[in-house]
């Protein structure tokens, strides 16, 4: 499912428009007119919330068994994947989720449960987006800048239009000029620029005037058209951009490791859905325990992701080769039966000679993993000497010989500091934090944050009307 969101300027929780639908398909759009009015806002968001919640539950419904050792889990066969234009949209959805996940009743009326559920889902997606290599929510700016080499600086890579233009600038136009132009013209959101909201202002003011305080759909809906048109026009190019970007990435062969990573995604997805359907509530602030475990989990996911990328894609290995964190060459000698004394007794420790094309610098004792056995025992650098134009490195396996541990003689082989086996998944920490980690005030229980919703929306003020508009950043 693709999602495009436009906020009202400066209003972190107010989606002026949300568009959603199948990527490269038609999209639905929800427009509140005056998103700062709770009733109008929730009424407008309802269809989106319902579609999202339904899609999530549907995706989680059909399960497959996965057996690991003694235990068997039922993972979703799939996960609902959200595709958005950029990382800031992920953040915006997270905030929206935070808002909707816990809503207070108003005059005895409890809010639409779909809103609350959708809120929980959005929060989950936003949190999960921190996991390196995850694919449940895909901010295309990150995806494209990981996949494509462009002239753009890291900061500029946050602009999907610029990235797209660099990748396909169009015949006769230079990539630089294409992206510069795209940057000028394209509006991607979620935060609107001045020119957009100058228009929005007039529309919203007119809308508020016409509805004369009414929130009755019968009255309001007909009045929404100009605003919907305004945002439809803003969403369309972004929607097209998303479709184009996705279809470009599509149709390329998968890397072997993708399945594994997506399995952890599905696992997380399943856990989330179960938790929510059991009426579970997420803390809005991590406990020390959650934070500690999250930290370790993310760090492991990261090193695994980096290792898998580099090992599966030669182009990704190059930086490691350049930084002497990896060496590549031809295996010119292999002594399987070499023995060495470990502690007291002599044990088998195969020796290998690798001739590299480039002179390399490696300290003896440095541990390297053969890329074909990066989950297994490392090799240790014994010596590195100049040889021909390059170097000759002698490596010793840190365990006994086994076929799948030894590269072929006279074959090319790459050894790097990258390994794909993480040092065992960290054990679940004690649920009761030790006294040292108990704040005097325990972390706040999830609370509704919509207390101030009733306030009447502020009048828009044009930059030219105030002495120092910058003062309100």
């Amino acid at each position: 499912m693709g999602i495009v969101m436009w906020r009202l300027g400066g209003e972190r929780f107010r989606a002026a428009a949300v568009a959603w639908g199948p990527v490269a398909g038609p999209f639905k759009i929800a427009v509140a007119g005056e998103p700062r009015n709770r009733d109008l806002y929730f009424h407008a968001l309802a269809p989106f919330a319902t579609d999202l919640s339904t899609a999530v539950r549907a995706a989680a419904d059909d399960r497959v068994a996965r057996t690991r050792g003694s235990r068997t889990d039922r993972l979703p066969a799939n996960g609902l994947q959200l595709v958005v234009a950029n990382r800031s949209t992920v953040g915006a959805l997270g905030l929206l989720g935070r808002y909707l996940a816990y809503l207070s009743d108003r005059s005895g009326v409890s809010p639409d449960p779909n809103l609350m559920e959708a809120g929980k889902h959005l929060r989950f997606y936003a949190r999960h987006s921190r996991t390196p290599g995850q694919a449940l929510i895909v901010p295309l700016d990150r995806l494209l800048s990981e996949h494509w080499a462009t002239l753009l600086s890291p900061l500029e890579q946050a602009n999907l239009a610029a990235l797209d233009a660099q990748i396909e600038p169009g015949r006769g136009v230079h990539a630089f000029e294409a992206s510069a132009a795209a940057e000028r013209i394209a509006r991607i959101g979620p935060e609107p620029t001045e020119d957009i909201d100058r228009v929005t202002t007039e529309l919203v003011e007119a809308f508020n005037e016409d509805r004369a305080g009414s929130v009755d759909p019968a009255v309001v809906t007909p009045l929404l058209e100009p605003i919907s048109a305004h945002y439809r026009a803003l969403v369309e190019p972004v929607w097209a951009l998303i479709g184009r970007s996705v279809s470009r990435e599509r149709g390329l062969p998968a890397a072997p490791s993708v399945a594994g990573r997506f399995e952890s995604d599905r696992e997380a997805f399943g856990r989330h859905v179960d938790w929510v359907s059991d009426g579970g509530r997420y803390r809005t602030t991590d406990t020390p325990r959650q934070a500690a475990m999250t930290l370790r989990r993310l760090e492991q996911a990261r090193s695994r992701y980096e290792a898998e990328r580099a090992i599966e894609d030669p182009a990704c290995m190059v930086p490691y080769l350049l930084d002497a964190d990896a060496i590549r060459g031809t295996v010119t000698n292999l002594n399987e039966d070499h023995r060495t004394v470990v502690r007291v007794r002599a044990v088998q420790r195969p020796l290998l000679t690798l001739d590299t094309d480039d002179p390399i610098v490696l300290p003896a004792g440095k541990k390297l993993w053969w890329t074909a056995a990066a989950h297994d025992a490392p090799w240790e650098v014994v010596s590195v000497t100049r040889h021909a134009a390059g170097s000759r490195a002698v490596l010793m396996l840190t365990t006994v010989a086994r076929n799948d541990r030894l590269p072929a003689l006279r074959g090319r082989a790459t050894f790097s500091t990258l390994r794909t086996r993480s040092e065992g998944f960290p054990l679940a920490l004690a649920t009761a934090p030790p006294w040292t980690h108990q704040p005097e005030r325990p972390p706040a229980a999830p609370e509704p944050i919509d207390a101030g919703d009733a306030e009447t929306p502020a009048a828009a003020v044009d930059g030219s009307a105030v002495a120092d508009p910058e003062a309100y950043r």
């Binding site: 990527v23 595709v83 462009t150 396909e168 015949r171 990539a175 470009r248």
Partner: protein, 278 residues
Amino acid sequence: MSRKRPPSAELLTKELAKAVAAKDTARAIELTRQIESQLQSDLKETNGASRDRGSGASSGERPSFAAAPAVVPVHWTARSAGSARQTITAALSEIGVPAKARLVADYAEARFGDRVDTRGFSALRRDERRAWASSSPRPTYIVPALEGRFFQPIRGLLALSDWPIERRLMGPWSERTDHLAATAQMARQLAWLSERDRAVAVGLASVVAGMARSVPGALDGPHVDTARVEAAVEAELAEFEELDKPWRSESAARARKQLSPEEQLWGRQVKVVGAGES
């Protein structure tokens, strides 16, 4: 871990940028393919996308990578590309040693086709001096080479501010040493270019010829044999460096002791030169 590794995308960026800047179609295609292969490290989006996409999966949308960005010949942005400062900086860093304005201009014209008006050089020197922001080692400025006794700026002998001071000091053997070093470098450059860009090579050849003229055995008849030039030049260069190096490092040591950071770049304005000295 005490080193932050740049993502491989940045290395490819460099590569692609090089190709783009060099208007090199061949290289650019290579790179685009490399980049394409990098895509393989991820199909997950594809899975997801296809799951989303419903029925109409138009794989026909996929662009042919041969038509990808860098492949298109660059039409160079004119703005300030021709600026004297930029052309001279580029030329100097390729020559690598202090050089006379004339030579820099000739080299630049042969290499980049940018004609630099040497009459503008004095203005340029004033601008550079003015622009120099002591609070930052950036950007690179065009500075005068310094005479190595009293460290006064030598008019019309250009160097770059990010060169170590040794290289910017001139002593009794330095001028010849630098001339030889420059000639050797240009000869190598010519050799390399002659297989790639005929037109440029031809232009550069005459510059090299002009420089090699003073080197015994470097030239033989009208056409330039880069190997021959290089050999002849290197031979003489070896002798000169032996004399020049110690002198320069000694002088550099004094300069760094006596001169402020500013003076180390722009030279010291000495009013009177002792008669006994020079």
